[in-house]
């Protein structure tokens, strides 16, 4: 009997204990709770915005102490594979926006980190833990920060944080890691100049991350340029027109745009237009600014090109009864185009480089990506990588301009391709022979003529000696 009584008693005690545990688990979530506000991690992907597992980063955890609670200890737990080893933790306790001075001690081991406060953190305080140099599991995945805390009633469970997205190490990052470990690279980087401008790790990163910016540059200038050509042509024709008003407008347009920095024009367009309630997408606005700016330069190029066509061409056209527009579009402009191709290509190169200025207002073009990478790494190498991206386009164009210029120069001094004698090509051999014999007859006739004036020959001879 006694035995069963004890058995019953233990059973009851166990039930009460279980109830107590259940209550303890329930109570903290309702009555008091150290609310987890957020947990975030600093992106540690070079040139990217991802958090990569297995590489050092910084975890920031924030929790608020709720009413009636006194927190003396907080323990953060991360999933298996994470590590707080070797990390340093900055504990900030805030009351509203002011710092509260509560001393704390941090103990980190494996995937657990415990912060104990010298005096209890009371209600309304914000606890902010920044753990520098920790890392997440190598395989990546969504990481939830869980843990416990100690208040006056004992150990409580922390509410889980929203998951932090982490990814497994990328092949790019592995490549960078192998460069990091390479002694030759280390020696290279130890030279301040090489390390600052040609750091191999950053070149690798930049080449893979700058591509979207480079493509945007190309798209902007390629889309802008046809508009620039049309606008430029219109203003060129206006500038050489007989109407004084049209000339004045064209001169104003060309001189203002050529006489002010593009930088300024960008600021005016990007900040001025929205103030007049004209809202245009940034990339489209970029195209517009580049097109307008280039059009002023092109107008001058076209004007010079048109005016370089000899007056005789106009006279010839008008003698054929051509109107002004017929003369322009059928006679003058086709000749102008050939002459301005090298200059227009040079201007295209300039416009392409000028897209870099759009970075100052936040168009996500090449320089913007480079600037982003530089501001994160504190190193100039991304700019060098950007320079290479510019050169990929500009060098072939510069070469092309050279070739075209040479050809034009050749043709102008008479060395260019000649129009083929269409008649000669179509003749059959028989016809050619007939023609030849005809020529021979003609020649002998000429000889005969000479015979009539024999006195000419000595004269010719004497001229020859005189010269």
């Amino acid at each position: 009997m006694g035995h069963t009584a004890t058995g019953k008693r233990t059973a009851v005690a166990a039930r009460i204990a279980a109830l107590a545990v259940a209550l303890m688990l329930l109570v903290p979530t309702s009555a008091f709770a150290l609310t987890t506000n957020k947990a975030t991690a600093r992106p540690n992907e070079d040139g990217g915005s991802s958090v990569i597992g297995g590489l050092p980063t910084r975890l920031t955890w924030e929790g608020s102490v709720e009413d009636g609670e006194e927190v003396t200890e907080v323990t953060l737990t991360l999933p298996e594979g994470s590590s707080f080893d070797g990390s340093t933790t900055k504990v900030t306790v805030l009351e509203g926006l002011s710092r509260a001075s509560i001393d704390s001690e941090v103990a980190a081991s494996g995937s657990m980190l415990t912060v104990s406060f010298a005096e209890p953190a009371t209600s309304g305080l914000l606890l902010r833990l920044e753990v520098e140099g920790m890392h997440f599991p190598d395989d990546g995945g969504d990481v939830v920060v869980s843990g416990t805390y100690v208040n006056q009633a004992g150990t409580q469970t922390l509410t889980d944080s929203k998951p932090i997205k982490t990814i497994a190490n990328t092949s790019l990052q592995k490549m960078i890691a192998s460069l990091d470990a390479n002694p030759v690279v280390a020696a290279w980087n130890s030279n301040p100049f090489l390390g600052m401008f040609f750091k191999p790790q950053l070149l690798v990163t930049a080449f893979s991350t700058l591509v979207p910016g480079w493509l945007l540059c190309l798209v902007i200038v390629v889309v802008a340029y046809p508009f620039a050509i049309i606008l430029g042509l219109i203003f060129a024709l206006m500038k050489i027109s007989k109407s004084r008003l049209l000339r004045a407008i064209a001169i104003l347009y060309i001189n203002i745009l050529r006489g002010t920095p593009l930088f300024l024009q960008i600021y005016i367009m990007f900040f001025g237009l929205p103030m007049m309630n004209i809202n245009i997408d940034n990339n489209v606005l970029g195209v517009i600014v580049i097109a307008i700016n280039a059009s002023a330069y092109l107008a001058e190029i076209f004007r010079a090109g048109i005016q370089s066509i000899p007056q005789g061409q106009y006279e010839a056209a008008s003698s054929l009864g051509m109107s002004y527009f017929q003369t322009m579009f059928d006679i003058i402009l086709p000749q102008t185009i050939r002459r301005v191709i090298p200059t227009v290509t040079s201007d295209f190169i300039t416009s392409y480089k000028d897209t870099s200025l759009l970075s100052s207002v936040g168009v996500m073009e090449l320089m913007m990506f480079a600037k982003n990478l530089t501001s994160v790494s504190g190193n100039m190498t991304p700019y060098v990588a950007a320079a290479i991206f510019y050169l990929i386009v500009t060098l072939p164009l510069i070469k092309a301009v050279g070739i075209v210029e040479e050809r034009i120069a050749n043709s102008e001094r008479g060395g260019g391709p000649r129009p083929k004698d269409k008649g000669a090509k179509d003749m059959s051999v028989a016809e050619a022979e007939a023609k030849l014999s005809e020529l021979a007859v003609h020649a002998s006739a000429l000889d005969d003529e000479h015979a009539f004036v024999p006195s000419l020959s000595p004269m010719n001879a004497s001229f020859g000696t005189e010269v």
Binding site: N37, K38, T40, A41, R42, P43, S49, S50, R58, T60, T88, K90, T92, V93, L94, G96, L97, S98, R99, D103, L126, R128, E132, F270, F271, P274, M275, N279, N282, S360, V361, G362, M364, M368, K371, N372, S375, V376, G378
Partner: protein, 277 residues
């Protein structure tokens, strides 16, 4: 005193507050704890007798450049430090914020960088910080009619979208916060606060994240069509940037800061620039 362990005792030696406690104990023999101790002078300067300061001077009310002169809380603090050290203070022309730490690190141009630098572990790898002289937080400015409101979580989730463009000043803690908390947004690092705010005001960018005192100043003085959407309690603290090769100067400035704090100058400056002590 028995509760003070050896470690915390040594730890708090560095804190100026303990000077009083030690003198109360009476047993402290070491001379560098006495209050009116001369400021150490074993430091090197770019120019003899001059304290040359680098700042972006584009961060009112902390640093600004008005009428060709450096002004602001930090500027007054630099002059106060110069006075304590017996040095003439000279400000370099305004420069980009993210170029100041490289400048101090490479040396030869300026002795200190004083431009509302929050003390961070990352920056500590490059340069030394003096003791903290001011507490700060971050804030997010948006245009009043943007129509996002709520707590931190609501605003973060509204801004953390690919159609949102957030301006930051390059190299600031505001930039770091945005990169960590708004990874989906387009992040635009720009050189100056004014450009960032103009962009927000004109709708180019939806938000601008920077130090709260500055955001507050911009929204109340220059860009009244903008408002502080979110105050972010980060509890960061400003320190003055000194080259790692010049620990003597860091020590001297720390001693000067302690005096500036204890003789009431700091309270005066805070009152002058922030209206509160």
């Amino acid at each position: 005193m028995s509760t003070i362990t050896r470690r915390s005792f040594i730890g708090s030696m560095s804190a100026s507050a303990l000077g009083l406690m030690l003198s109360a104990c009476g047993g402290a023999g070491s001379s560098d704890t006495t209050e009116a101790e001369a400021i150490p002078t074993d430091y090197t300067l770019v120019q003899e007798g001059k304290l040359i300061v680098a700042s972006d001077l584009d961060f009112p009310p902390l640093d600004s450049f008005e009428g060709g002169e450096a002004q602001g809380f930090d500027v007054d603090l630099s002059y106060a430090i110069g006075e304590k050290l017996g040095l003439e203070v000279e400000y370099l022309p305004p420069m980009d914020f993210d170029s100041i730490i490289p400048l101090i690190k490479n040396g030869g141009k300026a002795d200190i960088g004083n431009s509302a630098f929050s003390i961070t572990e990352e920056r500590k790898e490059e340069i030394d910080f003096t003791d903290a002289y001011l507490d700060s937080n971050l804030g997010i400015a948006v245009k009043k009619d943007l129509g996002i409101s709520g707590g931190e979580a609501a605003i973060v989730s509204a801004l953390n979208a690919s159609d949102m463009t957030v301006a930051v000043q390059a190299g600031t803690t505001g930039e770091a916060w945005v990169r960590e908390n708004l990874p989906e947004a387009n992040i635009v690092p720009l050189a100056s606060v004014t450009v960032c705010m103009t962009g927000v005001s004109t709708g180019q960018y939806q938000a601008f994240c920077a130090d709260l005192p500055v955001i507050g100043h911009q929204c109340s003085v220059s860009f009244t069509d903008c408002t502080i959407a979110l105050e972010i309690p980060t509890g960061e603290q400003y320190g003055i940037v000194v080259s790692k090769d010049n620990p003597g100067l860091t020590a001297a400035i720390n001693a000067a800061l302690a005096q500036i704090e204890s003789d009431g100058t700091m309270a005066e400056l805070k009152k002058k620039w922030f209206g509160t002590e």
